[in-house]
Amino acid sequence: MPSAETFKALLRVQDLTREFVSRRGLSTRHLVAVDRANLTISADQHEILTIAGESGSGKTTLARMMLGLVEPTSGHMLFKDRDVSHITGGANRKWFRRQVQPVFQDPFATFNPLRRIESYLYETVGNYGVAPRKTADEPIERALNAVGLSLREVKGRYPSELSGGQLQRVSIARALITDPSLLVADEPVSMLDASLRMSVVNLFRELKARQSVIYITHDLATAYYASDRVAIMLRGWIVELGPVQKVLGEPKHPYTQLLKTSVLEPDPRQKSTERVSLATSDEGSFVRVGCRFADRCPHVMDICRTVEPPDVPVDGRLVKCHLYESQSSTEEAAEAAAPLVASAT
């Protein structure tokens, strides 16, 4: 659908930071969940950007900020060139939510178990004025068809009567009703059985025709399969950002390398015998000076313990690591951070 608006970027996240302060007795603890994140989603080309990381990486907080559910402590977020970091006013919020819609992790928690499932679809149509009541069935049927379902199948049913996979599809359909430019999916398949996951992930691949998708996950295999670019997060930082074949195919950042070797491939012929060593607790790494991966990094140097690593462009991607410090140039920096201009496969 041709858009009458022109803007420089669909979503631009600039130095976005979210800090949590907890007071325990007399001491105060600052937890920087997301630390100066920078991302851009292009206006010209739809893409699927994965934000991958383990628990505590900040990916969920970043996703919630993108949805406007949490406000940043500092930094900016621009959607279609408008500053949406702190949205006030019903009209503004509605403008934003019409175009940025979520898909949540737990399909059974996404819907009120006491309401019939189609009521959410009708609500969305009515509240955003997508169609008048008489013809409300049309956009709903279209959205459901896009996810492989039909109104007849789901009408009159309660969430408990559908499977996790079906519920997740309905959740996606509901998000599609307003024809949003951006879908933010927070671990959309992690609660589904392994064999059902691919059908939903395939769905995201198909949806790329009409919307961009930000896909949050800890599952690198589906990330590799579905996305164009990937951002690896560690303790609030984006430590590697670039095309998925590069980042996951030949990871440069030691953390990404660790993630890749840790993945349990479903293939007995490819068993890895490398051993990993795990941290005892998470607390220290959040407040450390220097690189947050220093205590686990096999290539750690002295500088890593005192100075925060810069974002270095390496081989078409950005890597936050001292190892590659000398290899940069400003052109490479711009290219590495940019969204892809041609779709990759």
């Binding site: 383990e54 628990s55 499977s163 996979g165 079906q166 059985d193 392994a194 064999s195 059902l196 996951r197 691919m198 059908s199 992930v201 395939n202 800890h218 599952d219 690198l220 295999a221 589906t222 590799y224 399969y225 074949q245 996951l248 195919g249 660790l258 993630l259 890749k260 070797t261 840790s262 993945v263 349990l264 491939e265 479903p266 293939d267 007995p268 012929r269 068993k271 890895s272 051993r275 990993v276 060593s277 795990l278 941290a279 005892t280 607790s281 998470d282 496969t345």
Partner: protein, 344 residues
């Protein structure tokens, strides 16, 4: 790669044609959930035996029965579960509750799903270990701390976790502490229920490592129940594939992944994405049936692309098509005769 045990093989546990159903009544509606509907298997000493299946396949119920935890509304409708203890065959279902409790943790131990939430949040780890040992191995009580420290050292877990409360530890560390707790009495058989689910990628690797180390050191047998085929590929010697309360296929891991015979197994394996591959993966349409009104005949037939008429009416018998490879499928074992002999 863990070497499968050398012959001769003894069976640590044997399940024969087990049927376990839940019968409930809510608002005047009676439901019979046939969670385990005719499962037979043998677990060999020293192996890692994987049970693969999605939610609703009956694996949790199977585990409960293996542990002898059969309380209403669950009841055993048929079949048996035998353990080999000190050269005797023990039918766990024939024992009294106190006898079963004696078997738990010393003969059979259990690592529950969501283990990280099992630890008592108001007790230090050290005290949790003490309570556990006092309850199950009183002869150790005097030297509890030494035993525990020694065991943790052997497993490569830092001693300082003993002085911590559960919430001080990361999720992965809690999981490993729970595993240590479940295995400190060197049980012969360890049942692990989804030990890696909901854990981070790197932590999963650590947990798998730990389970390998424990098994190697204590020479115990590990039964791994999970829907994650990656875990089976990396850890199991043999894998049993369950669907809707019945066995679909069983083979050693390499064979199962290279030459899966049952359509469900094929789809299960082919639908999984692999790192370094972006080719289109296809998923199985439909979803597992509710266990209170399962399809007639072969329970997979509504979703099977090769379903034939006979599949809708006749339950395919579990047959051994090659030594160590059992399949229940009419496509593999045509109903009108072949050399394969039925295995119960």
């Amino acid at each position: 790669m863990i070497a499968p045990p050398a012959t001769p093989v003894t069976n640590v546990a044997e399940v024969r044609d087990l049927r376990a159903y839940y019968v409930t009544e809510t608002s005047n509606v009676q439901r019979t959930v046939r969670a385990v509907d005719g499962i037979s298997l043998q677990i060999q000493e020293g192996e890692v035996y994987g049970i693969a299946g999605e939610s609703g396949c009956g694996k949790s119920t199977l585990l409960k029965v293996l542990l002898g935890m059969v309380t209403p509304p669950l009841s055993i409708v048929g079949g048996s579960v035998h353990y080999r203890v000190d050269d005797r065959d023990v039918d766990i279902l024939a024992l009294s509750e106190s006898e079963r409790r004696a078997m738990r943790w010393s003969v059979v131990s259990y690592i529950p799903q969501g283990s990280m939430h099992v630890l008592n949040p108001v007790r230090k780890i050290r005290d949790t270990f003490r309570d556990f040992i006092a309850a199950h191995k009183p002869s150790w009580v005097r030297q509890t701390d030494e035993h525990v420290r020694g065991y943790l050292n052997d497993l490569g877990l830092p001693e300082r976790v003993l002085g911590a409360y559960p919430h001080h530890l990361s999720g992965g560390m809690r999981q490993r502490v729970t595993i240590a707790l479940a295995t400190i009495l060197s049980p012969r058989l360890i049942l692990a229920d989804e030990p890696t689910t909901a854990l981070d990628v790197v932590v999963q690797r650590g947990v798998i490592q730990l389970l390998e180390d424990i098994r190697a050191r204590t020479r115990s047998t590990l039964v791994l129940v999970t829907h994650d085929m990656g875990v089976h590929a990396n850890l199991a010697n043999r894998v049993l594939v369950l669907y809707a309360g019945q066995v679909m296929e069983e083979a050693d891991t390499l064979t199962l992944f290279e030459q899966p015979l049952h359509p469900y197994t094929q789809y299960l394996i082919n639908s999984l994405p692999k790192l370094d591959e972006r080719a289109e993966r296809v998923s199985i349409p439909g979803r597992p049936p509710a266990l209170d009104h399962a399809p007639s005949g072969c329970r997979f037939h509504p979703r099977c692309p090769y379903a034939m008429e006979v599949c809708k009416t006749v339950v395919p018998p579990l047959m051994e098509v090659r030594p160590g490879h059992r399949v229940a499928c009419h496509l593999v074992n045509p109903p009108n005769g072949s050399a394969a002999h039925a295995v119960g």
